[in-house]
Structures are given as C-alpha cells and as structure tokens.
Amino acid sequence: MEYVSPEGLRLDGRRPLEMRQLRAELGAVSRADGSAVFEMGNTKVIAAVYGPREVQQRSQQLNDKALIRCEYTMANFSTGDRMRKPKGDRRSTEISLVIRQTMEACILTHLMPRSQIDIFVQVLQADGGTRSACINAATLALADAGIPMRDLVTSCSAGYLNSTALLDLNYVEDSAGGPDVTVGILPKLDKVTLLQMDAKLPMDIFENVMQLATEGCKAVANYIREVLIENTKQLENRRGV
C-alpha cells in the first residue's frame, strides 16, 4: 500500500514531517485536583489527577517518596469497531506502566513522602498515538494539579514507511506494520525519558526517525507551554492581579 503519494502527501493529506493539529484544554473534570483534555488530530484523551493525598492502601506506602499510580482505560466506543473488553487487558496494563514510569521520572516524588498521586487517563477517540497523547494529557493534568515537577514531559511518535520518515502516525499508518518509534523527552533538560520501538530499522535511519520524533516532542512542548501560560494568565485575571 502507498502511504506517501508521489506528490509527497500522506493518507490524511499531511506532509511527512507534519504533525496533526493539537488541542488542549485544562480543567475538564471539575472534581479532580487537576485534569486536561488533549487532542492530536482525531485522537482524544482525558487525564485526571487526584492527589497528593493519603495512601489508600497502607502496604503500598513509601516512606521516602510519593506513590504514583496510573490507570489507562479506553472507552468502548473509542475505536472503529466496538471494543468488547476494555478493562484490564495486557495492552492497557502495559501502557499504564509506561505512563506511570514516564511521569514518575519527572515528578519530584521526594517532596511528598507517604502520599499518593493517582493519574487516570481515559481514551475517548483512538486514532493512533494514544500513548503519546496520554503522556501529554497527563503532563498537563499534573501541571494543573500544581504537582511539583522537574520539567514537562512531552511525547510524540514517528515511523518509517515507503522509505520516508513520518511524524505522528495515525491509526492507518500505525497498523501498517512498519517501525513505530515513541519518544518522550524532558524538553528543558533535553533528556529522553521514554523510548519504545517495534519492528526493525537500520541504525542510521533509526537515528533520523528518532530525531524527527524528538523534534515532534519539542513542538508539543512549545504548545503545552503556551496552553499553561494562557491558563495561568486567565487565573491571574480572575484573581484580579
């Protein structure tokens, strides 16, 4: 199948190095301590953060740092064909773990010993790149909750199809079976915290694809920063400062 047309356009009309449209909104769930909606094209996720709060299960309490927990759920209607068993499958468990580890790396857990932070991400629409979208949503929700972090974490994926490196794969490109590199970075510290790839790639091409995904992460970081600044300005206005 042809994923990049001779004119250099992808199936959804993007250029190979083009990202999908981003949209983010803070405070989508009023009861949570922090929450955000994050959209990458047709992929749409909600993240809610509860905490820091008392550890619910005493046996899990850590005396030197906060306990971070994460759960990833997909809505029954989020995919093209209706999902029948959305909860607790292997894929969700794996993604929950990935998100937890990524977020744990940037939260200053040592400042909140003996407490717990819950991150819940809910996929409303899945069109490829849910992993990245969830991490981006979780970052925003954590920032909205005012939880101390080293830096923002942002994530983006890139792939390689028809001898072309493609940024931010959608579902069709993702299921093409080609390599899919998901990268998560701390943009200010310029460090990679998450790196996953399936399928195989020659070394030199991998370098390019990863570079591309990193550039994507930086673009997401700029956008997220704008959203946060805009939100802070609004809060400032409301307080009448």
């Binding site: 989508a28 909600i46 759960e71 759920t73 809505a75 029954n76 209607f77 819950d118 819940f120 809910q122």
Partner: protein, 283 residues
C-alpha cells in the same frame, strides 16, 4: 464518598424543606443542561458538573429466535476512573451494572421488547435472519449526582443523530440460507427518536423530594425513584433505589410529579438537541 459535617447536612436538609437548595434552585428545578452532538451517533451531555458521553454503534447480527421480527439493543455503561478514584480497576463495575440495568428497564421495555422506547421492529432487516444490533455505550466522565437522568438524555441525543445505513437484500437467496446483504455507504435512515423517553429521578430527602440532586444532596437521600416518561406522557419504566421504604401513596405522588417535570425536561432537551445539531451543520 462525600464527606459532610453535621452542620452541612442540616443545612442541605433545611434548604430542601424550605424549597431553596444550596445552589439557589427550587426543589423541582434542573441545573443548566448542555448538549453537544458529535460526528455520528454520539453526544455529550452536561448537567451542572455531571458530564456523560453516549455513543451508538450498529452491527449486523441475527435476531433472537423468540423475537424474529425485532432487532437487538444493548446498553452498557462504564464509569471512568477520571470521575472518581474509587472507580479504578473493577471498582466502577457495581455502579456501571446498576446504571446499565436501570437504563435497560427505562428504555428497552420488557423481555419481549414490548413497550420499548426504541422501536425494535425498525431494526429488523430480514425476519429471523438479519437484523441490526444496536450497541449503546455510555461513559461517565464526571460525577456530581443525577447520572441516570444525564445518561438518559445523552442516549436520546445520541440516537437522534444516529444514521442507520440502508441495507439492500439480495432477494434470490434460498429461504434456509443466510441472505446476502449489501450495506449502503451513502444512504442513511435517520433513527426515529420521538418515542424515546426521558428519565426523571426524584430523590427523597427528608419529607420532600427533589429533581437533579447533586452528590451532596444524594448523600442525604433516603430513596430515589426514576421514572421514564415518553412524549405521550406514558410511563415506560420505573426503578427505585435506596434502602428506605416508601409509602405506596408517596410513590404514586412522586410518579405524577415526575411526569409533570418530564414535560419540561423533554421540551428543554429537544430544543438543546436541535440547537446542537444546528451548530454541527454550521461547522
């Protein structure tokens, strides 16, 4: 769930007794309702802070042998852990089951499908062979009381923008084989939702009952009755929740009040759905 002090409880109960609730509403007033309809067969409804999403998906299936001329509808509700941490993992299952069962009772009628708010006969394609299976999925995003009414409204809104593809049946198939069907990509039949009822939950707090209770008010309830009423003012389903018993005369009184309130809610919803669809078309 909701941690309230004795003073707060007293304040809520006293307010309800005086027909002035903590957020300034009267006993039978709803919070502002907003309806947003999505691409095809989905809707988001907000009632105050309560927020739910409903979606409708259709698949081709085989009708039940007991009702060969009817399609099938199933309703599944899921409580997202974003709404509250206790719905994490399997924690939301109990509530999900309760809500799904209540909605089935309110919308789908009896076992045979008689008296259903959704016209099951319209989902039949070839009697006894092919029919549409309608899957209605609800997702609770944020909880601040009265989830059932919000889900009922969201399902109604989602159904009203559901297009069921037109199906052409090859007439040559022998009667004992599964006929070949051709699902059209372009022609859609709009789903008739005029018969879909709305759900009104009356929550009894002290000696009075209120509509559209918030979480705080629900924590003070003794029992709640959910009535689903259609446009003709007929009652399609009824469920009672909460432990305390109710005097039969009170139940009848609650039903008649519910019926009265449902007219306002139905009109309000219809205008909101129409407005949501109008903005969809503008885009």
């Amino acid at each position: 769930m909701v941690g309230l002090s004795v003073g707060e409880k007293h304040f809520i109960q006293g307010g309800i007794a005086q027909d002035l609730r903590t957020d300034g509403r009267k006993r039978l007033t709803y919070r502002p309702i907003s309806v947003e309809t999505g691409a095809n067969g989905s809707a988001r409804v907000k009632m105050g802070k309560t927020e739910v999403i409903a979606s409708v998906k259709a698949e081709l299936g085989r009708p039940n042998s007991s009702a060969p001329d009817k399609g099938k509808v199933s309703i599944y509700i899921d409580c997202s852990p974003t709404a509250a941490p206790q719905y994490e993992g399997r924690g939301g299952e109990e509530l999900s089951m309760e809500l799904s069962a209540a909605l089935r009772q309110c919308l789908l009628g009896g076992k045979t499908g008689a008296g259903a708010g959704i016209n099951l006969s319209s989902l039949s394609i070839v009697d006894g062979k092919v029919c549409w299976d309608l899957y209605i999925d609800g997702l609770v995003i944020n909880i601040d009381g009265n989830i059932l009414d919000a889900l009922g409204a969201a399902i109604k809104a989602a159904l009203s923008n559901t297009g069921i593809p037109k199906v052409n049946v090859a007439s040559t198939a022998p009667s004992d084989e599964q006929p070949e069907v051709d699902v059209s990509d372009e022609e859609f039949l709009q789903f008739d939702t005029t018969a879909v009822p709305v759900i009104v939950t009356l929550t009894k707090v002290g000696r009075h009952y209120i509509v559209d209770a918030t979480s705080e008010e629900e924590s003070e309830m003794s029992s709640a009755v959910s009535v689903s009423v259609n446009r003709q003012g007929l009652i399609c389903g009824l469920t009672k929740r909460g432990g305390a018993g109710l005097d039969p005369s009170v139940v009848l009184d609650m039903i008649s009040v519910g019926k009265h309130v449902s007219e306002q809610l139905m009109n309000k919803l219809d205008s909101e759905i129409a407005a949501a669809e109008a903005t969809m078309e503008e885009e």
